[in-house]
Symmetry: C2
Subunit: 264 residues, 2 copies
Protein backbone atom coordinates (compact mmCIF):
# COMPACT_ATOMS: atom_id res chain seq x y z
CA UNK A 1 0.00 0.00 0.00
CA UNK A 2 1.19 3.49 -0.78
CA UNK A 3 1.78 5.95 2.05
CA UNK A 4 -0.28 8.79 0.62
CA UNK A 5 -3.84 7.55 0.55
CA UNK A 6 -4.83 10.00 -2.16
CA UNK A 7 -2.34 8.25 -4.44
CA UNK A 8 -4.12 4.90 -4.18
CA UNK A 9 -5.41 3.46 -7.42
CA UNK A 10 -9.14 2.96 -6.87
CA UNK A 11 -11.67 1.03 -8.96
CA UNK A 12 -15.43 1.38 -8.46
CA UNK A 13 -17.47 -1.71 -9.27
CA UNK A 14 -20.98 -0.30 -9.62
CA UNK A 15 -22.24 3.15 -10.59
CA UNK A 16 -25.60 3.32 -8.81
CA UNK A 17 -26.84 5.94 -6.35
CA UNK A 18 -24.41 5.10 -3.56
CA UNK A 19 -21.38 4.52 -5.81
CA UNK A 20 -22.03 7.75 -7.69
CA UNK A 21 -22.26 9.88 -4.57
CA UNK A 22 -19.31 8.20 -2.85
CA UNK A 23 -17.03 8.30 -5.91
CA UNK A 24 -17.78 12.01 -6.44
CA UNK A 25 -17.08 12.78 -2.78
CA UNK A 26 -13.73 10.95 -2.92
CA UNK A 27 -12.86 12.62 -6.21
CA UNK A 28 -13.50 16.03 -4.67
CA UNK A 29 -11.07 15.16 -1.87
CA UNK A 30 -8.33 14.47 -4.39
CA UNK A 31 -8.58 10.69 -4.71
CA UNK A 32 -7.80 9.08 -8.05
CA UNK A 33 -10.47 6.76 -9.29
CA UNK A 34 -9.01 4.94 -12.23
CA UNK A 35 -11.95 2.95 -13.47
CA UNK A 36 -15.69 2.54 -13.10
CA UNK A 37 -17.58 -0.63 -13.95
CA UNK A 38 -21.32 -0.72 -14.52
CA UNK A 39 -23.57 -3.14 -16.35
CA UNK A 40 -25.05 -0.22 -18.27
CA UNK A 41 -23.02 2.16 -20.46
CA UNK A 42 -25.04 5.21 -19.40
CA UNK A 43 -24.28 4.80 -15.69
CA UNK A 44 -20.64 3.88 -16.25
CA UNK A 45 -20.03 6.72 -18.66
CA UNK A 46 -21.79 9.45 -16.73
CA UNK A 47 -19.97 8.70 -13.47
CA UNK A 48 -16.60 8.12 -15.18
CA UNK A 49 -16.84 11.45 -16.98
CA UNK A 50 -17.52 13.37 -13.80
CA UNK A 51 -14.60 11.86 -11.90
CA UNK A 52 -12.23 11.73 -14.82
CA UNK A 53 -11.96 7.91 -14.86
CA UNK A 54 -11.99 5.17 -17.48
CA UNK A 55 -15.06 2.97 -17.64
CA UNK A 56 -16.08 -0.51 -18.69
CA UNK A 57 -19.25 -2.55 -18.88
CA UNK A 58 -17.40 -5.84 -18.85
CA UNK A 59 -15.94 -7.37 -15.70
CA UNK A 60 -13.18 -9.14 -17.62
CA UNK A 61 -11.78 -5.70 -18.44
CA UNK A 62 -11.53 -4.74 -14.77
CA UNK A 63 -8.10 -3.21 -14.03
CA UNK A 64 -6.09 -6.07 -12.39
CA UNK A 65 -3.57 -3.96 -10.46
CA UNK A 66 -5.60 -1.45 -8.47
CA UNK A 67 -4.97 -0.89 -4.74
CA UNK A 68 -8.60 -0.64 -3.68
CA UNK A 69 -11.75 -2.12 -5.21
CA UNK A 70 -14.97 -0.55 -3.92
CA UNK A 71 -17.88 -2.79 -4.82
CA UNK A 72 -21.30 -1.18 -4.68
CA UNK A 73 -23.82 -3.37 -6.44
CA UNK A 74 -27.33 -4.59 -5.72
CA UNK A 75 -26.82 -7.40 -3.16
CA UNK A 76 -28.02 -10.17 -5.47
CA UNK A 77 -25.74 -8.99 -8.32
CA UNK A 78 -22.77 -8.83 -5.94
CA UNK A 79 -23.25 -12.39 -4.75
CA UNK A 80 -23.48 -13.52 -8.34
CA UNK A 81 -20.44 -11.58 -9.59
CA UNK A 82 -18.00 -11.85 -6.67
CA UNK A 83 -15.97 -14.58 -8.37
CA UNK A 84 -15.46 -12.56 -11.52
CA UNK A 85 -14.69 -9.41 -9.53
CA UNK A 86 -11.94 -11.06 -7.49
CA UNK A 87 -10.40 -13.20 -10.20
CA UNK A 88 -6.79 -12.50 -11.21
CA UNK A 89 -6.37 -9.26 -9.28
CA UNK A 90 -3.36 -7.80 -7.50
CA UNK A 91 -3.00 -10.04 -4.43
CA UNK A 92 -2.15 -7.07 -2.20
CA UNK A 93 -5.30 -5.23 -3.20
CA UNK A 94 -8.01 -4.40 -0.66
CA UNK A 95 -11.59 -5.30 -1.57
CA UNK A 96 -14.53 -3.63 0.18
CA UNK A 97 -18.27 -3.61 -0.31
CA UNK A 98 -20.69 -0.90 0.76
CA UNK A 99 -23.74 -3.01 1.61
CA UNK A 100 -25.55 -2.86 4.95
CA UNK A 101 -26.76 -6.43 5.04
CA UNK A 102 -23.88 -8.45 3.55
CA UNK A 103 -21.40 -9.85 6.09
CA UNK A 104 -17.71 -9.10 5.62
CA UNK A 105 -17.04 -12.84 5.51
CA UNK A 106 -18.43 -13.03 1.98
CA UNK A 107 -14.92 -12.05 0.81
CA UNK A 108 -12.97 -14.62 2.83
CA UNK A 109 -12.82 -17.37 0.21
CA UNK A 110 -11.97 -14.99 -2.59
CA UNK A 111 -9.29 -12.50 -1.55
CA UNK A 112 -6.70 -11.90 1.12
CA UNK A 113 -7.46 -8.32 2.19
CA UNK A 114 -11.03 -7.22 2.54
CA UNK A 115 -13.49 -5.14 4.43
CA UNK A 116 -16.69 -3.13 4.48
CA UNK A 117 -17.12 0.59 3.89
CA UNK A 118 -20.75 1.42 4.71
CA UNK A 119 -22.02 5.00 4.57
CA UNK A 120 -25.49 5.00 6.13
CA UNK A 121 -27.47 7.47 4.06
CA UNK A 122 -30.11 7.65 1.31
CA UNK A 123 -28.45 8.47 -1.99
CA UNK A 124 -30.04 9.61 -5.23
CA UNK A 125 -28.08 10.58 -8.32
CA UNK A 126 -30.08 13.80 -8.74
CA UNK A 127 -29.07 15.12 -5.35
CA UNK A 128 -25.67 15.76 -3.78
CA UNK A 129 -25.46 15.19 -0.06
CA UNK A 130 -23.20 16.61 2.61
CA UNK A 131 -20.86 13.73 3.44
CA UNK A 132 -19.42 15.33 6.59
CA UNK A 133 -22.58 14.34 8.50
CA UNK A 134 -22.87 10.80 7.18
CA UNK A 135 -21.91 8.03 9.59
CA UNK A 136 -19.48 5.51 8.06
CA UNK A 137 -19.34 2.02 9.56
CA UNK A 138 -16.06 0.23 8.93
CA UNK A 139 -14.91 -3.36 9.21
CA UNK A 140 -11.79 -5.03 7.81
CA UNK A 141 -9.88 -8.29 7.77
CA UNK A 142 -6.88 -6.72 9.55
CA UNK A 143 -6.30 -3.73 11.86
CA UNK A 144 -4.02 -2.22 9.21
CA UNK A 145 -6.74 -2.25 6.59
CA UNK A 146 -9.31 -1.12 9.10
CA UNK A 147 -7.19 1.93 9.84
CA UNK A 148 -6.68 2.64 6.17
CA UNK A 149 -10.43 2.53 5.51
CA UNK A 150 -11.08 4.80 8.48
CA UNK A 151 -8.48 7.23 7.23
CA UNK A 152 -10.17 7.34 3.84
CA UNK A 153 -13.61 7.76 5.42
CA UNK A 154 -12.32 10.60 7.63
CA UNK A 155 -11.29 12.61 4.60
CA UNK A 156 -14.97 12.95 3.67
CA UNK A 157 -16.90 12.42 6.94
CA UNK A 158 -16.63 13.48 10.59
CA UNK A 159 -18.45 10.37 11.79
CA UNK A 160 -16.46 7.17 11.33
CA UNK A 161 -17.20 4.13 13.48
CA UNK A 162 -16.20 0.48 13.79
CA UNK A 163 -19.09 -1.92 13.34
CA UNK A 164 -19.28 -5.69 13.17
CA UNK A 165 -21.28 -7.34 10.40
CA UNK A 166 -24.02 -8.09 12.97
CA UNK A 167 -24.25 -4.45 14.05
CA UNK A 168 -24.25 -3.23 10.48
CA UNK A 169 -27.10 -5.59 9.60
CA UNK A 170 -29.13 -4.17 12.50
CA UNK A 171 -28.34 -0.59 11.50
CA UNK A 172 -29.43 -1.35 7.96
CA UNK A 173 -32.75 -2.82 9.10
CA UNK A 174 -33.40 0.23 11.30
CA UNK A 175 -32.44 2.49 8.40
CA UNK A 176 -35.01 0.83 6.16
CA UNK A 177 -37.73 1.83 8.64
CA UNK A 178 -36.26 5.27 9.29
CA UNK A 179 -35.67 6.22 5.69
CA UNK A 180 -37.20 3.96 3.04
CA UNK A 181 -40.48 3.36 4.85
CA UNK A 182 -40.71 6.98 6.00
CA UNK A 183 -40.24 8.14 2.43
CA UNK A 184 -43.00 5.78 1.36
CA UNK A 185 -45.34 7.45 3.88
CA UNK A 186 -44.53 10.74 2.12
CA UNK A 187 -45.24 9.04 -1.21
CA UNK A 188 -48.64 7.78 -0.08
CA UNK A 189 -49.54 11.26 1.21
CA UNK A 190 -48.44 12.71 -2.12
CA UNK A 191 -50.69 10.25 -3.95
CA UNK A 192 -53.68 11.15 -1.76
CA UNK A 193 -53.14 14.89 -2.14
CA UNK A 194 -52.84 14.56 -5.90
CA UNK A 195 -56.16 12.70 -5.95
CA UNK A 196 -57.76 15.60 -4.06
CA UNK A 197 -56.04 18.30 -6.13
CA UNK A 198 -53.97 19.62 -3.21
CA UNK A 199 -50.25 20.43 -3.41
CA UNK A 200 -47.67 18.24 -1.62
CA UNK A 201 -45.81 21.43 -0.57
CA UNK A 202 -48.38 22.00 2.20
CA UNK A 203 -46.87 18.96 3.95
CA UNK A 204 -43.28 20.24 4.08
CA UNK A 205 -43.50 22.16 7.40
CA UNK A 206 -45.04 19.04 8.95
CA UNK A 207 -42.37 16.76 7.48
CA UNK A 208 -39.60 19.05 8.77
CA UNK A 209 -41.06 19.37 12.26
CA UNK A 210 -41.63 15.59 12.49
CA UNK A 211 -37.93 15.07 11.72
CA UNK A 212 -36.69 17.89 14.01
CA UNK A 213 -38.85 16.68 16.87
CA UNK A 214 -36.94 13.42 17.35
CA UNK A 215 -33.71 15.38 17.90
CA UNK A 216 -35.29 16.46 21.20
CA UNK A 217 -37.90 13.85 22.14
CA UNK A 218 -37.82 10.07 21.72
CA UNK A 219 -40.05 8.91 18.84
CA UNK A 220 -42.39 7.41 21.42
CA UNK A 221 -42.73 10.76 23.22
CA UNK A 222 -43.15 12.55 19.91
CA UNK A 223 -46.08 10.42 18.70
CA UNK A 224 -49.32 12.33 18.06
CA UNK A 225 -52.48 11.78 16.03
CA UNK A 226 -55.67 9.71 16.02
CA UNK A 227 -53.98 6.31 16.39
CA UNK A 228 -52.26 7.07 19.70
CA UNK A 229 -55.48 8.54 21.11
CA UNK A 230 -57.33 5.71 19.37
CA UNK A 231 -59.90 8.17 18.13
CA UNK A 232 -62.28 5.71 16.46
CA UNK A 233 -64.33 8.45 14.81
CA UNK A 234 -61.35 9.79 12.90
CA UNK A 235 -59.87 6.37 12.14
CA UNK A 236 -63.23 5.17 10.82
CA UNK A 237 -63.57 8.20 8.52
CA UNK A 238 -60.04 7.75 7.21
CA UNK A 239 -60.58 4.05 6.49
CA UNK A 240 -63.73 4.99 4.56
CA UNK A 241 -61.77 7.52 2.50
CA UNK A 242 -59.29 4.78 1.60
CA UNK A 243 -61.98 2.28 0.58
CA UNK A 244 -60.99 2.38 -3.10
CA UNK A 245 -57.40 1.35 -2.35
CA UNK A 246 -57.38 -1.82 -0.29
CA UNK A 247 -53.59 -1.90 0.05
CA UNK A 248 -53.43 1.63 1.46
CA UNK A 249 -56.40 0.93 3.71
CA UNK A 250 -54.72 -2.18 5.08
CA UNK A 251 -51.52 -0.21 5.69
CA UNK A 252 -53.44 2.53 7.51
CA UNK A 253 -55.12 -0.03 9.73
CA UNK A 254 -52.00 -2.03 10.52
CA UNK A 255 -49.81 1.00 11.29
CA UNK A 256 -52.54 2.55 13.47
CA UNK A 257 -52.89 -0.71 15.36
CA UNK A 258 -49.13 -0.91 15.83
CA UNK A 259 -49.01 2.69 17.15
CA UNK A 260 -51.82 2.00 19.56
CA UNK A 261 -50.50 -1.37 20.76
CA UNK A 262 -47.06 0.10 21.46
CA UNK A 263 -48.49 3.07 23.35
CA UNK A 264 -49.88 0.88 26.12
Amino acid sequence: MKKNIQALSIVFVGAGNLATNLAKALFREGFHIDQVYSRTVESAYSLAQYINAKYTTSLVDLKPDADLYIVSLKDSAFVELINEICEAKNSNALFVHTAGSIPMSIWSNHVQNYGVFYPMQTFSKQREVDFREIPFFIEASSPKHCNLLKEIAHTISDKVYDATSEQRKSLHLAAVFTCNFTNHMYALADELLEKYGLPFETMLPLIDETARKVHQLTPKQAQTGPAIRYDEGVIGKHLEMLADDKQMQQLYELISKSIHDRSK
Copy 2:
Protein backbone atom coordinates in the same frame (compact mmCIF):
# COMPACT_ATOMS: atom_id res chain seq x y z
CA MET B 1 -67.15 41.99 17.87
CA LYS B 2 -64.53 44.41 19.07
CA LYS B 3 -62.39 46.27 16.56
CA ASN B 4 -59.05 45.40 18.08
CA ILE B 5 -58.70 41.64 17.75
CA GLN B 6 -56.22 41.45 20.61
CA ALA B 7 -59.02 42.76 22.89
CA LEU B 8 -61.30 39.79 22.15
CA SER B 9 -62.29 37.71 25.12
CA ILE B 10 -61.14 34.18 24.26
CA VAL B 11 -61.97 30.88 25.96
CA PHE B 12 -60.07 27.66 25.24
CA VAL B 13 -62.07 24.46 25.58
CA GLY B 14 -59.36 21.84 25.82
CA ALA B 15 -55.77 22.00 27.06
CA GLY B 16 -54.11 19.20 25.08
CA ASN B 17 -51.07 19.40 22.81
CA LEU B 18 -52.66 21.56 20.12
CA ALA B 19 -54.60 23.84 22.51
CA THR B 20 -51.52 24.36 24.67
CA ASN B 21 -49.29 25.36 21.76
CA LEU B 22 -51.93 27.53 20.09
CA ALA B 23 -52.96 29.31 23.30
CA LYS B 24 -49.33 30.08 24.14
CA ALA B 25 -48.69 31.43 20.64
CA LEU B 26 -51.75 33.70 20.82
CA PHE B 27 -50.81 34.82 24.33
CA ARG B 28 -47.34 35.79 23.12
CA GLU B 29 -48.96 37.92 20.40
CA GLY B 30 -50.89 39.88 23.02
CA PHE B 31 -54.23 38.06 22.94
CA HIS B 32 -56.23 37.78 26.16
CA ILE B 33 -57.30 34.27 26.95
CA ASP B 34 -59.76 34.56 29.79
CA GLN B 35 -60.40 30.95 30.61
CA VAL B 36 -59.20 27.43 29.94
CA TYR B 37 -61.34 24.33 30.33
CA SER B 38 -59.93 20.85 30.64
CA ARG B 39 -61.31 17.62 32.04
CA THR B 40 -58.16 17.28 34.15
CA VAL B 41 -56.99 19.86 36.71
CA GLU B 42 -53.32 19.38 35.82
CA SER B 43 -53.76 20.28 32.16
CA ALA B 44 -56.17 23.15 32.86
CA TYR B 45 -53.97 24.61 35.58
CA SER B 46 -50.64 24.34 33.83
CA LEU B 47 -51.86 26.01 30.64
CA ALA B 48 -53.91 28.65 32.51
CA GLN B 49 -50.91 29.61 34.62
CA TYR B 50 -48.67 30.11 31.62
CA ILE B 51 -51.14 32.33 29.78
CA ASN B 52 -52.43 34.12 32.84
CA ALA B 53 -56.00 32.80 32.50
CA LYS B 54 -58.65 31.39 34.83
CA TYR B 55 -59.38 27.70 34.55
CA THR B 56 -62.19 25.24 35.17
CA THR B 57 -62.73 21.51 34.92
CA SER B 58 -66.47 21.86 34.71
CA LEU B 59 -68.27 22.88 31.51
CA VAL B 60 -71.16 24.47 33.43
CA ASP B 61 -68.67 27.06 34.69
CA LEU B 62 -67.65 28.05 31.16
CA LYS B 63 -67.64 31.85 30.83
CA PRO B 64 -70.95 32.67 29.05
CA ASP B 65 -69.99 36.03 27.52
CA ALA B 66 -66.72 35.44 25.66
CA ASP B 67 -66.23 36.61 22.06
CA LEU B 68 -64.44 33.54 20.78
CA TYR B 69 -64.55 29.92 21.93
CA ILE B 70 -61.72 27.78 20.58
CA VAL B 71 -62.59 24.13 21.03
CA SER B 72 -59.70 21.70 20.81
CA LEU B 73 -60.76 18.32 22.16
CA LYS B 74 -60.38 14.72 21.08
CA ASP B 75 -62.99 14.31 18.30
CA SER B 76 -65.14 11.86 20.24
CA ALA B 77 -65.19 14.11 23.34
CA PHE B 78 -66.12 17.11 21.20
CA VAL B 79 -69.11 15.36 19.63
CA GLU B 80 -70.25 14.29 23.08
CA LEU B 81 -69.83 17.72 24.71
CA ILE B 82 -70.90 20.13 21.95
CA ASN B 83 -74.35 20.68 23.53
CA GLU B 84 -72.91 21.65 26.87
CA ILE B 85 -70.25 23.83 25.28
CA CYS B 86 -72.75 25.86 23.28
CA GLU B 87 -75.52 26.09 25.84
CA ALA B 88 -76.43 29.56 27.18
CA LYS B 89 -73.53 31.44 25.64
CA ASN B 90 -73.35 34.97 24.20
CA SER B 91 -75.35 34.70 20.97
CA ASN B 92 -72.85 36.91 19.12
CA ALA B 93 -69.93 34.72 20.06
CA LEU B 94 -67.89 32.87 17.45
CA PHE B 95 -67.28 29.14 18.00
CA VAL B 96 -64.44 27.36 16.24
CA HIS B 97 -62.89 23.93 16.44
CA THR B 98 -59.36 22.93 15.49
CA ALA B 99 -59.96 19.40 14.21
CA GLY B 100 -58.86 18.18 10.80
CA SER B 101 -61.60 15.63 10.24
CA ILE B 102 -64.73 17.25 11.73
CA PRO B 103 -66.87 19.19 9.24
CA MET B 104 -67.75 22.79 10.05
CA SER B 105 -71.44 21.88 9.82
CA ILE B 106 -71.25 20.16 13.21
CA TRP B 107 -71.91 23.61 14.72
CA SER B 108 -74.90 24.55 12.59
CA ASN B 109 -77.64 23.30 14.92
CA HIS B 110 -76.00 24.75 18.01
CA VAL B 111 -74.77 28.30 17.42
CA GLN B 112 -75.15 31.18 15.00
CA ASN B 113 -71.49 32.05 14.26
CA TYR B 114 -68.99 29.30 13.76
CA GLY B 115 -65.97 28.12 11.92
CA VAL B 116 -62.81 26.04 11.85
CA PHE B 117 -59.30 27.11 12.78
CA TYR B 118 -57.00 24.24 11.80
CA PRO B 119 -53.23 24.54 12.21
CA MET B 120 -51.68 21.57 10.42
CA GLN B 121 -48.75 20.56 12.57
CA THR B 122 -47.66 17.96 15.14
CA PHE B 123 -47.81 19.44 18.62
CA SER B 124 -46.33 18.13 21.84
CA LYS B 125 -46.47 19.97 25.14
CA GLN B 126 -42.75 19.44 25.75
CA ARG B 127 -41.75 21.23 22.58
CA GLU B 128 -42.49 24.75 21.33
CA VAL B 129 -42.84 25.10 17.59
CA ASP B 130 -42.31 28.01 15.24
CA PHE B 131 -45.86 29.03 14.29
CA ARG B 132 -44.81 31.32 11.42
CA GLU B 133 -44.26 28.25 9.21
CA ILE B 134 -47.43 26.40 10.15
CA PRO B 135 -50.20 26.40 7.53
CA PHE B 136 -53.59 27.42 8.96
CA PHE B 137 -56.73 26.26 7.14
CA ILE B 138 -59.75 28.46 7.82
CA GLU B 139 -63.47 28.07 7.25
CA ALA B 140 -66.37 30.06 8.72
CA SER B 141 -70.13 30.46 8.55
CA SER B 142 -69.84 34.00 7.16
CA PRO B 143 -67.22 35.99 5.20
CA LYS B 144 -66.96 38.40 8.13
CA HIS B 145 -66.01 35.64 10.55
CA CYS B 146 -63.76 34.02 7.99
CA ASN B 147 -61.83 37.28 7.71
CA LEU B 148 -61.64 37.65 11.46
CA LEU B 149 -60.21 34.13 11.84
CA LYS B 150 -57.70 34.79 9.07
CA GLU B 151 -56.67 38.02 10.75
CA ILE B 152 -56.07 36.16 14.01
CA ALA B 153 -54.16 33.37 12.23
CA HIS B 154 -52.00 35.93 10.41
CA THR B 155 -50.77 37.36 13.71
CA ILE B 156 -48.99 34.07 14.40
CA SER B 157 -48.47 32.45 10.96
CA ASP B 158 -47.39 33.52 7.48
CA LYS B 159 -49.37 30.72 5.83
CA VAL B 160 -53.12 31.18 6.10
CA TYR B 161 -55.44 29.49 3.61
CA ASP B 162 -59.16 28.95 2.99
CA ALA B 163 -60.16 25.28 3.01
CA THR B 164 -63.51 23.56 2.77
CA SER B 165 -64.34 20.77 5.21
CA GLU B 166 -63.74 18.26 2.40
CA GLN B 167 -60.27 19.65 1.67
CA ARG B 168 -59.40 19.79 5.34
CA LYS B 169 -60.38 16.13 5.78
CA SER B 170 -58.07 15.18 2.90
CA LEU B 171 -55.21 17.24 4.31
CA HIS B 172 -55.66 15.58 7.67
CA LEU B 173 -55.55 12.09 6.17
CA ALA B 174 -52.38 12.98 4.24
CA ALA B 175 -50.90 14.47 7.43
CA VAL B 176 -51.50 11.21 9.30
CA PHE B 177 -49.30 9.42 6.77
CA THR B 178 -46.73 12.23 6.57
CA CYS B 179 -46.34 12.77 10.27
CA ASN B 180 -47.95 10.20 12.57
CA PHE B 181 -47.01 7.16 10.49
CA THR B 182 -43.56 8.55 9.72
CA ASN B 183 -42.92 9.08 13.41
CA HIS B 184 -43.99 5.49 14.03
CA MET B 185 -41.36 4.31 11.54
CA TYR B 186 -38.81 6.22 13.68
CA ALA B 187 -40.29 4.53 16.78
CA LEU B 188 -39.94 1.04 15.29
CA ALA B 189 -36.32 1.80 14.31
CA ASP B 190 -35.69 3.04 17.85
CA GLU B 191 -37.12 -0.18 19.25
CA LEU B 192 -34.91 -2.31 16.99
CA LEU B 193 -31.77 -0.33 17.79
CA GLU B 194 -32.45 -0.58 21.50
CA LYS B 195 -32.76 -4.33 21.13
CA TYR B 196 -29.34 -4.43 19.46
CA GLY B 197 -27.75 -1.98 21.91
CA LEU B 198 -27.20 0.73 19.29
CA PRO B 199 -28.02 4.43 19.81
CA PHE B 200 -30.96 6.05 17.98
CA GLU B 201 -28.77 9.15 17.38
CA THR B 202 -26.99 7.32 14.53
CA MET B 203 -30.27 7.64 12.57
CA LEU B 204 -30.59 11.43 12.81
CA PRO B 205 -28.54 12.35 9.70
CA LEU B 206 -30.62 9.83 7.73
CA ILE B 207 -33.90 11.18 9.13
CA ASP B 208 -32.89 14.74 8.28
CA GLU B 209 -31.76 13.92 4.75
CA THR B 210 -34.93 11.88 4.08
CA ALA B 211 -37.00 14.95 5.04
CA ARG B 212 -34.80 17.45 3.16
CA LYS B 213 -34.80 15.30 0.03
CA VAL B 214 -38.52 15.76 -0.66
CA HIS B 215 -38.05 19.53 -0.78
CA GLN B 216 -36.19 18.89 -4.04
CA LEU B 217 -37.41 15.54 -5.42
CA THR B 218 -40.90 14.03 -5.38
CA PRO B 219 -41.23 11.23 -2.80
CA LYS B 220 -41.44 8.78 -5.67
CA GLN B 221 -38.14 10.02 -7.14
CA ALA B 222 -36.56 10.01 -3.69
CA GLN B 223 -37.36 6.37 -2.90
CA THR B 224 -34.32 4.14 -2.29
CA GLY B 225 -33.65 0.84 -0.52
CA PRO B 226 -34.21 -2.89 -0.94
CA ALA B 227 -37.97 -2.70 -1.56
CA ILE B 228 -37.78 -0.48 -4.64
CA ARG B 229 -35.00 -2.66 -6.09
CA TYR B 230 -36.93 -5.68 -4.78
CA ASP B 231 -33.71 -7.12 -3.46
CA GLU B 232 -35.05 -10.45 -2.23
CA GLY B 233 -31.82 -11.39 -0.44
CA VAL B 234 -31.98 -8.31 1.80
CA ILE B 235 -35.75 -8.45 2.29
CA GLY B 236 -35.54 -12.12 3.26
CA LYS B 237 -32.79 -11.43 5.82
CA HIS B 238 -34.76 -8.55 7.31
CA LEU B 239 -37.93 -10.61 7.62
CA GLU B 240 -35.91 -13.28 9.41
CA MET B 241 -34.56 -10.69 11.85
CA LEU B 242 -38.15 -9.65 12.64
CA ALA B 243 -39.36 -13.21 13.21
CA ASP B 244 -39.92 -12.66 16.93
CA ASP B 245 -42.31 -9.74 16.32
CA LYS B 246 -45.05 -10.81 13.95
CA GLN B 247 -46.66 -7.36 13.84
CA MET B 248 -43.43 -5.64 12.82
CA GLN B 249 -42.70 -8.39 10.34
CA GLN B 250 -46.13 -7.99 8.75
CA LEU B 251 -45.62 -4.22 8.56
CA TYR B 252 -42.22 -4.67 6.90
CA GLU B 253 -43.69 -7.01 4.34
CA LEU B 254 -46.74 -4.89 3.55
CA ILE B 255 -44.85 -1.61 3.23
CA SER B 256 -42.17 -3.24 1.05
CA LYS B 257 -44.86 -4.68 -1.19
CA SER B 258 -46.57 -1.29 -1.42
CA ILE B 259 -43.26 0.41 -2.34
CA HIS B 260 -42.56 -2.17 -5.01
CA ASP B 261 -46.09 -2.23 -6.46
CA ARG B 262 -46.16 1.55 -6.78
CA SER B 263 -42.72 1.66 -8.43
CA LYS B 264 -43.96 -0.20 -11.50
